[in-house]
Amino acid sequence: MSSATMGFPKGGVHPPEEKELSLGAELVTVTPPKKVIVPVTQHLGRPSAVVVNRGDEVVVGQVLAEATGPVSAAVHSPVSGKVLKIADGAVIGADRVPVIEIMNNGEDTGLDAFVQKTVSWKDKSSFLDWIRDAGVVGLGGATFPTHIKLMPPKDATVHTLIINGCECEPYLTADDTLMQWKPAEVLAGCCIMAGVLGISRILIGIEDNKPRAIEAMTVAAREGTYASFFDGDVPSFDVQVHALKTRYPQGAEKQLIDALIHRKVGAGKLPFTAGVVVQNSGTAYAAFEAVAARKPLIDRVMTVTGKGVEKPGNFLVRIGTPISEVVNAAGGAKENLKAIIAGGPMMGKSVKTLELPVVKGTSGVLLLTGEEIEEYRERECIRCGRCVEACPVNLVPCDVAAFAEFRQWDRAGKAMECVECGCCQYVCPANRYLVLYNRLAKYHWRRLQK
């Protein structure tokens, strides 16, 4: 491992990390609730198609909705029980999408089928299918189907698998926890994905504010503990764990690539063009479970934190569990709660209620009080240029905002390159709603292009 601290070269911010709030506590397994709400589509891409009916008895891991094309992912039952209804329901970020409600019979029938076994490297050709069938998607939050990212186009030469363990969002510690808890398994997942890609070079990037995760992963890489999960003709892997400078958005895919191999992947281009594939450390663990236990993605590690919750910490939660149940496991919400945010504070979404289900992409929930979040009202741009300095993808955010404010959508096309990381708005002394202007500009720009 290299001891030099690396980072992406331009832009970014360093907000207060606030990670100690949720670190340190044991990983708590949340008891599956009486009723789970499983959204039919939990990934980026084509919606999944429901394959169960109302009244059906389902077991743990049974397919509820299957993929409807290559860029799609299956959804599995996280509990055993009866399908109550298939209807429209509210999820994080949308008021009405199809969801499947299942009454949990509490028996977890079928869960014992997913026993971890030694992986025979001879089955390598099946790894990709198993990952796909398990419904594994990017667990960093983007929820892009993992198997698609493991199938580079024919003309691309992939030489490196980059594992994103940055978790650059303040507050969140789910990846950190997972890497400390199961470093060998995470690493084995990385090897499985590298095996699928037919490459041996694995770079793991972790921000230097997670010394314990870096230590755990470095030890696992050095001692080769992951090898015990495999038998057969296992190739050797060149695993490097890199400590990266703590700077948001270090964990953005393109910034991470820039930091680790000094290549900039331009707007609209895929990491393949730089010869890399980037996967989140949580995704690596899910891929490991999919291959070693043939276990579909029915649970995930998530952070519940903020000063608005009694006992912040990390939780192993079944998909479909209402957020309120996880918050209860964390001791409940406090009276002076001022905001609920699904995800991290820089890119997460405001939600109105805790009665929304945890989905594959839910990396955390923040319950913030007035101490941590303010009611920001925007005022006039004073053209200080701080947003330009902070933008990691070299945009001029104040310009896009000005075009959007005056509804000149045809001139706001640059917004399409915005990754909505929020750095510009974080530094804006006028508290301009820069990210929202960008989103609005994108919406209208897309309409203009039609």
Partner: protein, 276 residues
């Protein structure tokens, strides 16, 4: 003497230039159908875009050239249609005069709010990030995108919902396009009965967040003597042509979602104010 010289010189110059101007204007005169000018003059000059042309001039040219009987200047109203028919010497269909209407009465006091929205005062923006303060996923956001779209000052946000000032509305339809929740439609002017809700949620859901939301109980559908009310796409819709303003539905509606406008229903004990 100097003054005289200057005056003579200027007079000569003026004379010469005016001759040049006349010649040039004759030479480069653009032949235009005088009718186009007349038609353009007859148009209301709102340049509102309701006809699909950016301005009245373009529409006038199109009308004269195409004599398209389907082309309509809605904001001009029936008077203009008669005028145009006389000018163009053709049949012009008289459209029913319409007016914009916002199908939501979920004011701040009647619709539940989950929080306070901080962001661009624009309905599309708030809807994009799912941060509308009201719980109802169908109701008026009250941030005034329609108000901004209206060039005639015919919309205002009052107590969290947009309201149409009918006297100012020319039915250009700009607000209809601006509403991200599809809550504004053009409806016939004059007395009418309207279902003031477009929620597609089930009754129990609606009851959780709105005092005046339609719970799709369909009592009105059953009780309407004219069969003028139907459930279409999960929304109760009144057929204005069939409606006789009898007021039955207004009385049976348990949520007070159905309201009269511009008339007082006879049977009603406590007549409600007109909605405008």
């Amino acid at each position: 003497m100097v003054i005289l010289k200057a005056a003579i010189f200027l007079a000569l110059l003026a004379g010469f230039l005016s001759v040049v101007l006349v010649l040039v204007s004759k030479k480069f005169a653009v032949k235009e159908d005088p009718l186009v000018g007349d038609v353009e003059e007859a148009l209301p000059q709102y340049n509102c875009g309701a006809c699909g042309f950016p301005g009245c001039a373009g529409f006038a040219k199109y009308l004269v050239e195409s004599r398209d009987p389907g082309a309509l200047c809605v904001p001009g109203g029936p008077d203009l249609q008669k005028k145009l028919a006389a000018l163009l010497g053709m049949e012009v269909k008289a459209a029913t005069p319409t007016v914009a209407h916002v199908f939501c009465k979920g004011t701040n006091s009647k619709a539940k709010q989950d929080g306070e929205y901080f962001g661009i005062q624009d309905c599309v923006a708030a809807d994009l990030i799912n941060a509308a303060p009201k719980s109802c996923p169908f109701g008026c956001l009250g941030l005034g995108s329609c108000v901004e779209a209206c060039a005639f000052d015919a919309l205002h946000v009052v107590d969290g919902i947009a309201e149409v000032i009918e006297e100012n509305c020319v039915a250009c339809g700009a607000c209809v396009k601006a509403c991200p929740r599809d809550l504004i439609s053009m409806i016939p002017q004059g007395p009418r009965v309207v279902v003031e809700c477009r929620s597609k949620d089930k009754g129990a859901g609606v009851k959780r967040y709105c005092e005046v939301g339609c719970i799709t109980c369909q009592l009105c559908v059953k009780k309407c003597p004219e069969n003028a009310i139907a459930l279409t796409d999960d929304i109760i819709v009144i057929d204005f042509e069939k409606c006789t303003l009898c007021g039955t539905c207004i009385e049976v509606c348990p949520q007070n979602t159905i309201l009269p406008a511009h008339f007082v229903p006879e049977k009603k004990e406590e007549p409600k104010e007109g909605t405008a």
